[in-house]
Symmetry: C2
């Protein structure tokens, strides 16, 4: 309903209201009610009141992050299965908590949808239900109750996710903690999400298969990225990392940000970069949305080879920044070159 | 940049990025940095890392709320001054905290804007700067630091606000606490926001005045609603209210929601309803966006006449629900009639 129509409704007054939104909210409420118990007891009051109420433990502080996803920009309704849009929406937020070493306490979702996405079409499940299938499956796997949010009819499909996490005071992993002489690490393998995106783009317009691609397919790293929560929490708890962030916009751009916040420079050794099978070094260096963790550790730190089955790989080191030298240097076949940021930024002209 | 363009950028790799978004973020960061100090010390780390870090006091719990506002639905770029859009965005979230009796700890804003709203036009301040003028003025008045958020280019202007508040454990005002026999109250006066909206609609299309209307004008209650934070916190601290919520969709609809959550019915006495000067009873009963508080109190409770200059008015009582009787009854000139919900709901067909 438009603003002008809403006004008409106000003036009409007393009219019985169609209950589209309430019904949708009730349906979601029913689905998420079971999930309220999956968390570790932080959620006291969820959907239905003016605010959700949460508790954290004494000695913890809160980590809060928000991520906005828009159709045509962060996902494409004509490319991404609805389940993947739901999964990716939550994964982006959880990945920010992972980067701080925080445990998830609750998620909040603001959803704006064209009305046709909330209705059943050709006897298929409504898009919004499949979106929640994807989002709630990840929420359950990561013990994150969906505690509230907002819902509005919108000409543009959009999802804004808020994650509230908790971390022991003083243990949060910041971007600003890296020092020259420390080693630089990543979790997992890089470039898989970009490789998947290119496969997805190549398949666009071709006839759809019956079953949407799942996490096990070659599109998996793009469609169903896994937030590195256990890795981040372990790095924080054991005080292994001096700084950390998640790789959302590509190693080259994100590493430059970590350097800026820490006031240091970095060298990446090309042959150490763990490329996802089939991905090129370019994709691993500049591709976005891998949602792996980038972190630094003191030279002598005993960083394990893997945490919960995910490898940790040293890819370079932090060095002193020098005037006239690039912030991030790539060392490749004995040669040194500037590693310019190859990711992308919004509002770029 | 579209998703497809983003892909091209990934493939191109290594290209220097235009810094539109980063510049905008830096500008906002500079403006909000001062504000980080306005809160009562809850904010430890703001914009610039993966998450913001917040602390609350021992014995407190968290109240979290999100509100999504879209152009054409919750505001109109061609009707509302940018300052008002910013103010209203934050006011909606603060009002939810007020309804729970919580104090604000921090706000988070996800903003999606068409690029022209981020640029200076005809030597005027960019729209986004005026939006922040309105939002940050209210943030300062309500001691609420803006601690983070997200930003994206969007064909549709939208703002999703998240408020994190704190309230002493067990003191939060819920919608579910009302019992039969209790008295029903509102803060302030009702109908002013709808009256203002109608004035705004009438002025639409006519030549703009040089100066946008301010909070003191007849449009004030619509353009610059005041969240009742002090009133809500006092009601919670003194345990005066048994249930509370804020009036966002109109008394008739919101009271029905409070009744549903509490399992009671209500009677509203028409002559007791405090109408905003110039507003009709219809506007006071059904008009949305007044952001006053609706609350219940035990029959013998000593509810003050005003808190911090804002009047508290008894407008009726809670009664036992009876089959075949309306949930909300209006008593007017000795007659009783059903008060049907006259607000509006999203996704209504």
């Amino acid at each position: 309903m438009s603003y002008a129509q809403a006004m008409t409704t106000i003036k009409r007054g007393g009219s019985g209201q169609a209950t589209g939104e309430r019904e949708l909210i009730e349906r979601i409420r029913g689905r998420v009610a079971g999930l309220a118990r999956v968390g570790r007891g932080g959620l006291r009051l969820g959907i239905g009141d003016d605010c959700a109420l949460l508790r954290i433990k004494a000695g913890e502080e809160l980590a809060v992050t928000t991520d906005l996803a828009l159709d045509g920009r962060h996902f494409r309704l004509d490319w991404h299965p609805a389940e993947s849009v739901g999964h990716r929406t939550l994964a982006r937020g959880l990945s920010d908590l992972a980067a701080m070493g925080a445990r998830p306490v609750a998620a909040f979702l603001s959803l704006g949808l064209p009305p046709e996405l909330t209705r059943s079409q050709r006897r298929q499940k409504p898009w919004v239900d499949r979106f929640y299938d994807g989002l709630l499956a990840l929420a359950e796997a990561c013990e994150t109750p969906l505690a509230g949010g907002d819902l509005a009819e919108s000409p543009l499909a959009l999802a804004d996710i808020v994650l509230v996490g908790a971390v022991r005071q003083g243990q949060a992993l910041l971007r600003s903690g890296a020092r020259a002489g420390e080693a630089l690490y990543v979790t997992g393998r890089l470039g898989g999400a970009t490789l998947g995106l290119e496969l997805l783009a190549a398949a666009a317009g071709k006839p759809r298969r019956q079953k949407p691609p799942d996490a096990e397919s070659a599109l998996g790293p793009h469609l169903y990225p896994q937030p590195r929560l256990e890795q981040g929490q372990t790095l924080a708890r054991r005080r292994l990392a001096t700084a950390a962030m998640d790789l959302s916009d590509g190693l080259s751009l994100d590493l430059a940000r970590l350097c800026a916040e820490s006031g240091v420079a970095a060298e990446v050794e090309a042959e150490l970069v763990p490329c996802f099978p089939g991905a090129t070094l370019e994709q691993a260096l500049h591709g976005g949305e891998d949602y792996e963790l980038l972190f630094t550790a003191r030279a002598g730190a005993r960083v394990p080879r893997a945490i919960a089955g995910v490898p940790l790989t040293r890819i370079g080191q932090m060095v002193k920044p020098r005037k006239g030298r690039p912030t991030v240097t790539l060392v490749k076949e004995g040669r040194r070159e500037a590693l310019a940021a190859g990711g992308w930024e919004h509002f770029a002209s």
